[in-house]
Amino acid sequence: MKKVKEWLTAYAFIAPAMAAILLISVYPLFFGVSIAFTDMNLFNFLSKEYKFVGLENFVQLLHDPEIWVLTYRTILWTVINVFLHVSLGIAFAMLLFKPWIKLKPFIRLILILPWAIPAFISIQVWHAMFNEQFGALNQLLQMVGLNPIPWLSNPVWAFVAVVMTNVWLGVPFMMMIALGGLNSIPEEIQEAALVDGASPWQMTRYIVLPLLLRTMVPAIVLGVIWTFNKFDVIYLITNGGPQTVINVFGEPRAIRATEILITKVYRTAFTYPNSWSYASAIGYVIFLVLLALSLLNMQIQRFVKE
């Protein structure tokens, strides 16, 4: 009886928040699934002429060569970014972790700035710096006697530009996580290794790095998920462009050079001629794949622990 009373009190406290979450997050989540099984877009929604089409959107998705190109590119984008985030993050954390560094709090403060500045602003500043005529990067290159780079109009350089921006944004987070990890490695282990005659390099390679990487697994998984769906950097700097021609299964096709899956979802949903249903179908496939990956990862971690 007392228990039921406790439940009721608890429910009274959480009811408003749960109602809001149900209406703003959970209901849309399921409603979005149902959209993926229709042919809904802005126009047939307003005239209420949209209809159920079954798996048509998903079939179309599997047969759309552009989706495969974008999937490949999204994976490439994720691997490059997460690799650079994690390796640079660990490298800077190790440099900063040395006990004899002077001005340590000050250097740390500077190095975490890209994480602290609102991403929207830093992305727009980078966007401005990539400006081919007046941007700081080309001015810097010309100052040291090099040729200016067509940052945003050349397909390869545009991809380099968005990766550069995203690496600048993402390293501090991994550095903070790595610093936390380094703090948690017991000094005794390293001392024991020293006594056994391990060189500094051996100690880093065989003791510190493996222990550190293990503590960083949750953050790396989060990093993969965030990068896979990183929308703002690409949308704001290149908007997926410039247009380029890629050979897909022997057929040349015009595809945007820096588009990834998530920017494709937005473009499909909110630019003319829009298709909410097809965009939803792509979006939910991404979500399910990421969910499966992280469940798999949880299972593997549990397995390793046991």
Binding site: W7, L111, H127, I225, F231
Partner: protein
């Protein structure tokens, strides 16, 4: 001990060398945007990099508020962010208290929901939300209580959209307040509501302030939803104003853009530097548990 032995000169050299390179790479964009904001001329962009602009002036910071579109974007953003924060804090505080203090069926599923919600791409969730808001009229420009309905839509979405994170984050603060205090009050005959209002809440003030700031910062520069919901520049929020100026086909108003960026970013950055450890602990509690 052995670990604290003196480093070789080579180690000292490369350590500081790479740390300094890192600092330069981090600071360069900030330095560039700052000097740009001091340029006395708005439209005339210099094709060379100036280490310090000629005739540097702070006038851009004042003149920017004379731009009617910037001014309205600024007030719109302040209004929307504050109301979203109030809504989010109200809902999150009560729920976090229950999650910290009571045992009840449904606690675990909420935790799983929190994890899954972190994985759900927000751009994908935007589609059904757009359709729902369109249907119930939350995308219209008609005013309700003096605020356009589309702004109410953003307020609701910002305030309630990140609730799972806010609740989870705030639960940590409530967990840190000893339960013995509640029990003592209960023995004295206080009701759950009195305990919440008179005992726990006053002690949780720092946690509430931090949660409020996180919600505020999330709303302050959100652009995807704002850009999708609004087409009238008079209703724009700050990020949309910035976007408009940086993609201006008739020439980017460099100094204005730079000054506005700094006005918008500096206070939030300073706040964030104070708050980052709470964010990390909240995130990792979610990831590790």
């Amino acid at each position: 001990m052995a670990l604290k032995q003196k480093p070789s000169w080579f180690e000292v050299f490369y350590t500081y060398f790479f740390l300094i390179i890192g600092c330069v790479v981090v600071l360069f964009p900030i330095y560039w945007i700052f000097t740009t904001s001091l340029r006395p001329f708005d439209i005339l962009a210099t094709p060379t990099l100036e280490l310090w602009p000629k005739g540097a002036t702070f006038s851009n910071y004042i003149n920017i508020f004379k731009d009617p579109y910037f001014y309205s974007a600024f007030t719109n953003s302040v209004k929307i962010s504050l109301l979203a924060t109030a809504l989010g804090v109200l809902l999150a505080t009560a729920a976090a208290y229950a999650f910290s203090r009571f045992e009840f069926p449904g606690k675990k599923p909420f935790y799983y929901y929190y994890i899954v919600s972190q994985m759900f791409p927000s751009v994908v969730g935007l589609i059904p939300l757009f359709v729902i808001f369109l249907r119930v009229g939350l995308l219209s420009e008609k005013a309700f209580l003096g605020i356009p309905l589309v702004h109410w839509g953003l307020i609701i979405a910002y305030g309630a959209g990140g609730l799972a994170f806010s609740v989870w984050n705030m639960k940590g603060f409530f967990d840190a307040i000893p339960k013995e205090l509640d029990e003592a009050a209960m023995i004295d005959g206080a009701s759950s509501w009195t305990i919440f209002w008179k005992v726990t809440l006053p002690l949780a003030k720092p946690g509430i302030a931090i949660t409020a700031l996180f919600i505020f910062m999330g709303a302050w520069l959100e652009f995807v939803m704002a850009m999708t919901f609004m087409s009238n520049p008079k209703l724009y929020t700050l990020p949309l104003w910035i976007n408009l100026s940086i993609t201006n086909p008739f020439g980017i108003p460099w100094a204005k853009f730079a000054a506005a960026s700094l006005i918008i970013a500096v206070p939030v950055t300073v706040l964030f530097l104070f708050l980052q450890r709470f964010l990390l602990s909240g995130l990792l509690r979610g990831a590790i548990k």
